[in-house]
């Protein structure tokens, strides 16, 4: 495979993100802050699939307690810098990966070299106290650097993404994305479908005519009988479905007619530009391109032109059709028709893009033809993700972006309401407040447990009051569980958060699949996962 990629070693993952994704992964540079188990487990899952390069930042030395929960340190490493040791053992996992380390206190780097962080494709901050985290998040927000925040505390953990204008072409939604345009055919499709004379076909041909042709003829006949109107009411739609069934010679044995009847709504559904894409296009038109504009922005602008001109209000045709009962020749002919139209649309998009590039003084070759085609094919599912800023979430009043998400989450309790993951998010926030005031974590020593329980409970009540939400199922018990954990990092919990975070990291750096927006909380007390927009 191209780029020296070991296609066999990476075979199982290439089936998800393809050569494009692998190339992006292999050219990215990721910063990991803090090399405890949460950090090393996250990084492990990025080294294995072949991330290009990583840097570990950690000021700590390997201590006795690291041996019990971190797989990437051993007894012989006691006393050595944790960043160095974990870097060494992580690199053992995959010879394709480059890694280095920096023995430094992240808080001072934040103060002294804020520009350092924007040199990475992604910053993964693990187990960072609220103070430095807030500053780091602001630096990343201002420099548009993607940030993943990972936290593991007792039996609870969470991942938080902070993304700004993060563009994704291959969002790969799970639902069926094919667009058949039966109700609004282009001339070639219309000619192809109307040329078939069903009455003249023998029984084998009749039962192997693709449902696209059947539905085209059914809807054409309907329109002829209904003054050019498509079925609109529920009643009419049902009737239309029946006309498809009636077209069959032997419905029970003609699978193609059964498929047409099953997908009948596709016959009268008019193609349109999804609302999310309309918003993207409107934004693209509202801002002039600059010489620094990304390929994504240039193509988005070109897409707006395409929709207004050649597209006649529609996006480029994706070009793929689903499998359907058919003889080989009919299917192949139909497929070729869709592909040819998609190629024409992509070419038109490329012309617009070249014009915009020329106006910016950049050659048309800046954007490869394959990338234009990929963009055109995915035009209906493009994403530009902007999460809330961590700063907004942490605002200490009802203006916090978390207020709504928390209130909503409280309305949707788990089987045991006290185990709703949002409760644990709030409990960890309370522990953070405790730590910020006292400079230590609650429950760090056994002697203060009873007092700490009360103090964390007070913080928890103050927090929900600030957010302007009710207490819901929150109680002293949540405070007690947080205090009992005493900021311990349990390996299994760190490994859960490391798994979730690394998966999101791959999605972010490959710019494939929709990323988490914006917080996933895993409640290890009861095995419940909650996802919230905070």
């Amino acid at each position: 495979m191209a780029d020296g990629m070991d296609s066999n070693k990476y075979d199982r993952q290439l089936r998800l993100w393809g050569a494009n994704g692998q190339r992006a992964l292999m050219t990215s540079h990721i910063l990991l802050i803090t090399a405890g188990p949460t950090g090393t487990e996250t990084l492990k899952n990025l080294v294995l699939p072949g991330v290009g390069r990583f840097t570990i930042m950690d000021a700590a030395k390997v201590q006795e307690r690291d041996l019990g929960n971190n797989f990437f340190v051993t007894e012989e490493h006691l006393g050595r810098p944790r960043a160095e040791v974990t870097c060494e053992l992580l690199l053992e996992l995959n010879p394709d990966v480059n890694g280095d380390f920096r023995v430094a206190d992240v808080a001072s780097v934040i103060e002294e070299e804020p520009q350092y962080f924007s040199t990475f494709n992604l910053v993964i901050a693990t187990q960072l106290a609220a103070g430095p985290l807030a500053k780091l998040a602001e630096i990343c927000w201002d420099s548009h650097t993607p940030l993943l925040v990972c936290r593991s505390y007792g039996l609870i953990c969470y991942v938080r993404t902070q993304l700004r204008d993060h563009c994704i072409v291959e969002s790969k939604p799970e639902s069926d994305q094919s667009e058949l345009r039966i109700a609004a055919p282009w001339p070639e499709l219309e000619a192809h479908c109307s040329a078939v004379d069903l009455a003249k076909l023998d029984s084998k041909e009749h039962s192997h005519t693709p449902y696209v042709v059947l539905m085209f003829q059914a809807i054409a006949a309907w329109k002829a009988q209904h003054g050019g109107q498509l079925p609109a009411s529920f009643e009419e739609k049902r009737k239309f479905q029946q006309t498809i069934k009636d077209m069959a010679r032997d419905f029970d044995n003609e699978i193609n007619f059964q498929e047409a009847s099953e997908h009948y709504y596709k016959a009268y559904t008019l193609p349109c530009v999804p609302e999310e894409i309309q918003a993207l296009l409107a934004e693209a038109q509202a801002h002039d391109l600059t010489p620094q504009s990304s390929s994504f922005r240039v193509l988005l602008r070109a897409l707006a032109d395409f929709v207004a001109q050649e597209g006649g209000g529609l996006l480029p045709l994706p070009g793929d059709i689903p499998d359907m009962t058919s003889d080989t020749d009919s299917f192949v002919a139909l497929q070729a028709l869709y592909k040819a139209k998609a190629a024409r649309d992509a070419a038109a998009l490329a012309t617009h893009a070249a014009r915009h590039l020329a106006a910016l003084g950049r050659p048309a070759s800046t954007i490869a033809p394959d990338d234009v085609a990929l963009f055109a094919k995915n035009a209906h599912c493009l994403l530009s993700v902007t999460t809330s800023a961590l700063k907004q979430e942490l605002a200490a009043d009802a203006s916090s972006s978390a207020a709504e998400g928390v209130a909503e989450a409280m309305e949707d309790p788990a089987e045991l309401p006290a185990q709703t993951p949002i409760c644990w998010y709030l409990a960890l926030r309370a522990a953070d407040r405790f730590q910020a005031k006292r400079g230590r974590w609650p429950g760090e020593t056994a002697a203060t447990i009873a007092l700490d329980n009360q103090a964390v409970w007070a913080e928890l009540q103050a927090l929900v009051k600030e957010l302007g939400v009710g207490k819901g199922p929150l109680g002293l018990a949540h405070a007690r569980e947080v205090v009992r954990a005493g900021a311990s990092e349990v390996h299994c919990v760190a490994s859960v958060v490391g798994g979730i975070a690394s998966q999101e990291a791959v999605k972010v750096v490959t710019r494939q699949y929709a990323p988490l927006d914006n917080t996933a909380v895993y409640n290890g007390v009861a095995g419940v996962l909650g996802v919230y927009k905070l």
Binding site: N70, G154, H208, A485
Partner: protein
């Protein structure tokens, strides 16, 4: 882990939806929770040393488990290295269980890992009954069915199906992944929904109709299946296709390409050929990590009672954003494996044994694919050994009325289950 076992919790297992025991923390090694995990009576069995297995071993070792056993029949392949992090290039070809065990023992001093390069079916009930918890990271439904039925058969029950001795319940924790999706679940045999109760969660593998493959190919997959299922047996009637032999796969790929060209079907690639023939399931390190760690944490809670036990199924989906859902799977009263071991069938007396097997045992409800059937007085049909099969095969075409009397109970067994599981099929003529 120390703090969580030494300090009392408001959320011990006794307060959860599946209150299996009371959390008893304490400062000393004599405290129940501590001893249950780190003491010598805690023996954990890990099934599979692949993507999930490697993670499970690491997670359990770093949770404090001291006595772990791992079973895996496979050897290490190059395509494992993107996620099975206990293996290196130099280990390719060696048994997974052995290499994984060696690595864990070296990295986590004090943790003992016994390795078996074997099939789970090679061991009996006595072997399995020594473990506190069994946790599996398997990639196929059949091995899970077998393991599940084995553990269900070990739980001692009375005639009504109630557990007599709770100590004979060996919890079964099962993890599985496919691409960015996965699940973790807890099965308390004969107490919660078992694997067989919810077989429907696993959709059947996608298969293409033979007439499409032979007569009306449209997709590259159809061309590949044609080369695999029709052309290979024709060209090499005496040679079984070795899916791991690149020469064999190259042959399939070339034939598939020829057929695709002939029909103008695009996109037959070598990668797709391997994917279709071997039914390759995408796999990544990250999903394995999430699922295994969730499973391992359940193992820890199951032995220490230091939290609520998962009730009973957690699904994870990272394809679009992150989505997770926890649900209590329902136990089926008529489950062959964990429910009432007897079931009544009302059938016409003229039904042949073959039709009875196909319609009533092999159907969607029971999915008993290779049953053997015994009457209290004699064997009616046996799948194996070949001699017995040949001898009993003629019975398949006899009507039931010639094989048993109205109200007789036949015993049905199936290789999908372990030896302890059998269905009592009471035949009532309608």
């Amino acid at each position: 882990m120390d703090r969580l076992l030494l300090r009392s919790s408001p959320f011990g297992a006794e307060t959860g939806a599946l209150p299996i025991g009371e959390f008893e923390p304490g400062e000393e090694a004599s405290a129940r929770a501590w001893d249950a995990l780190m003491g010598e009576d805690c023996k954990i069995l890990v099934i599979g040393a692949g993507g999930l297995g490697c993670e499970l071993l690491k997670d359990l070792a770093l949770s404090g488990c001291r006595d772990i056993t791992v079973i895996d029949v496979d050897t290490i392949d190059l395509s494992n290295l993107n996620r099975q992090f206990l293996f290196r290039m130099k280990d390719v070809g060696r048994p997974k269980a052995v290499v994984a065990a060696e690595f864990i023992e070296k990295r986590v001093p004090g943790c003992k890992v016994a390795a078996h390069h074997a099939k789970i079916q090679d061991f009996d009930g006595e072997f399995y009954s020594q473990f506190s918890v069994v946790v599996s990271g398997l990639d196929n439904v059949e091995a899970r069915r077998w393991m599940n039925s084995m553990l269900c058969s070990l739980a001692e029950i009375d005639d009504d199906g109630n557990v007599i001795d709770p100590d004979t319940i060996i919890p079964f924790v099962d993890g599985g992944t496919e691409g960015f999706k996965g699940h973790a679940r807890v099965i308390l045999p004969r107490h919660t929904s078992c694997f067989e109760c919810s077989l429907d969660l696993f959709p059947p593998q996608r298969v293409f109709p033979m007439c499409t493959i032979a007569d009306t190919p449209r997709l590259p997959e159809h061309c590949i299946s044609y080369a695999h299922l029709l052309q290979w047996p024709q060209a090499f009637p005496d040679k079984k296709l070795d899916k791991d032999d690149p020469e064999h796969m190259k042959w399939i790929h070339e034939r598939a390409q020829e057929r695709a060209e002939q029909h103008q079907i695009p996109d037959v690639t070598y990668m797709l050929t391997v994917g279709v023939v071997k039914n390759v399931i995408p796999a990544v390190a990250s999903t394995n990590a999430v699922v295994s760690a969730a499973c391992a944490l359940e193992v820890v809670k199951l032995v220490t009672y230091a939290g609520h036990v998962l009730n009973t199924y957690l699904m994870y989906n990272g394809v679009t954003g992150v989505y997770g859902s926890t649900m209590a799977l329902e136990r089926r009263a008529d489950c062959v494996v964990c429910g009432a071991p007897r079931r009544t069938f009302r059938v016409p007396a003229a039904t042949t044994l073959r039709a009875f097997i196909a319609d009533h045992l092999g159907g969607a409800a029971l999915k008993i694919r290779k049953p053997s059937v015994t009457h209290p007085s004699r064997v009616l049909f046996m799948q194996a050994p070949p001699a017995l099969r040949a001898q009993t095969e003629p019975n398949l075409d006899l009507p039931l009325s010639e094989l048993c009397a109205d109200g007789d109970e036949l015993t049905v067994t199936d290789p999908a289950w372990g030896q302890g599981t059998a269905l009592g099929a009471v035949i009532k003529f309608s």
